[in-house]
Amino acid sequence: MSAMLSVQGVHTFYGHIEALRGIDLEVRKGEIVALIGSNGAGKSTLLMTICGTPQAAKGRVVFDGRDITKVPTHEIMRSGIAQAPEGRRIFPRMTVLENLQMGASSAPPEHFAEDLERALAIFPILKERQGQRGGTLSGGEQQMLAIARALMSRPRLLLLDEPSLGLAPMTVRRIFQVIRDINRQGVTIFLVEQNAYHALRLAHRAYVMVTGTIGMTGTGAELLANREVRAAYLEGGVTEEVVAGGAP
């Protein structure tokens, strides 16, 4: 299978700080790929670099065979990639419905009603909250809205940044269940998580990121069984449920 997304030797700088130091990875069509790593390893920076904000200083990002390294962000997002970013970034003074309309910016308008119905079927709670302002939602609801908003553009590749952060264990399970369902409907998923246990169980393949480089790669099950990974991201007095709870 050919790569849908291919990141080749990418370096990204924030000012003088080199946040990414030569990243190589690929995501194939239909996969769920997880990227785990500790805080500050550069995971979110990688997702943002794929979206061209900031652009990679060196290396290439190729999506569907097209080099998108220097393409403006809004054009990248119109070519079939969507992101539910770190911190959710819901528009706080817009209603839930308006947030979803914003998500549909790059989709053909005639599909809006159908896409809206599908998104609200995945997250029924959002249906009740349609007229409410985004800023008044709970953390879990905001996360659901962020994912629903990303789906409104009918992406082929969905980038998810820490969807479990700060959520109650039950909500986390629900979110991961939804991610699996979305994937089964044909959306390729690239998932960034600190919650390594859930992410590795869900993912077909995964990469481990350490301070701006890729440290390890393998299938989800392989990494879950790996001693180093277990020591660094799964154990150390942390039980699975606490990890699942995304302790603040």
Partner: protein
Amino acid sequence: MAYFLQQLINGLSLGAIFGLIAIGYTMVYGIIGMINFAHGDIFMVGGFIAIIAFMVLGLLGITWVPLALLVMLAVAVAFTALYGWALERVAYRPLRNSGRLAPLISAIGMSIFLQNYVQLLQGARNKALGTPPISGGITLMDSAGFSVQLSYMQIIIIVSTVLLMAGFTYLINTTTLGRNQRACEQDMRMARLLGVDVDRTIALTFVMGASLAAVAGMVWLLYYGIIDFYVGFLAGIKAFTAAVLGGIGSLPGAMLGGLLIGLIEVFWSAYFSAEYKDVAAFGILVLVLVFRPTGLLGKPEVEKV
């Protein structure tokens, strides 16, 4: 009572013009967090384009007033919008990622440039309209030797301002462009991540602000009958004051602030002294900022959690 009523009418008319200009300040501030100090001069350019259109129409022999006014309006709005667009493209967009100070300095530079540009092209003397195309009015009240006049021009000012405000509120709240503008205002990077062409949205915001400034410039010209290259400075500062007074970033706030500044100025001139009318307007601003720093309708900055 009659005197008071007359001042109220005058104050509302002047305030409506300030409000139209203030919307340009507040929209641009809302979306890119920058005070466009050249906006007052865009208003002045709008007035000049209107008077040029008026002269050309006179030469062509088109003197039927409604047609002449419509053509003037269309020409003024179209060309002033072009100035607004070019201003953003040339002076602000290249500085988008360079902090707050650089675009501010650039704006002051553009303000000076526009004043000198018009002065060189049109001369330093004020330009007069000659016979005003709209004159006359209605006498509302006639008591004790004082008659309250509502001129046709004042009716036009107030009615067109109300219509424009209604149109703009609709545009911002319900159209895709308006939604994109609000999204850029709340989280520009996220808007970009959803496929919004942020540069285009910002450019259109400048075009919209400049269009309203053009209407204000034309109305100013018709109301006072004269215009000069320097008129944008004080009118701009007052409209900016209005925007801050109402709560910068808020559309209804800009209109409310404009009306208040107009009323304060007119009433102060009527009951105290015309020399100190500017002091009164700016004094009220100081008071509001001391007791309510976000302005009358402004929303306090929400801390992101």
